[in-house]
Symmetry: C2
Subunit: 80 residues, 2 copies
């Protein structure tokens, strides 16, 4: 069953409040970390389709619904 994974992060320069909260929490617990970014992962399962078909479909989904291009960047990974 083919699967696609969309990884969505705030664009460079867009503040990431969740990342800052995690960073602060980890530091208070004594962990040393340089920076933290929090994003979303959307896993999509399909009945069928080739990698090319699914990639085209997922790119369309990103434009239409999944991603806000004003503030977010995304990467699509396909797994057959």
């Amino acid at each position: 069953m083919p699967r696609a994974r969309v990884l969505i992060h705030n664009r460079k320069g867009v503040f990431d409040p969740a990342g800052k909260v995690v960073e602060g929490g980890l530091e208070r617990l004594g962990h040393q970390v340089k920076s933290v970014k929090v994003g979303k992962v959307i896993d999509l399962h399909f009945e069928s389709g080739t990698s090319e078909e699914i990639l085209a479909q997922v790119e369309k989904m990103c434009r239409e619904l999944l991603v806000n291009p004003v503030i977010e960047d995304y990467v699509v990974e396909i797994e057959e």
Copy 2:
């Protein structure tokens, strides 16, 4: 600069409301998708450290702060 990525999803059997909303939205737009799961991705950047050191540290971070083991599962990926 070494980097770790933590992918967090609801455990099997735990309801994923965000996934259901995305699934419904995609279907209304005419996309055919079998199922959708929405999770979190946490990217951690470190000043230094070997893969083994970072993996051990990130596993500790997951137990202490990042993951709720009652309802969530996670995977750690290390990138040097």
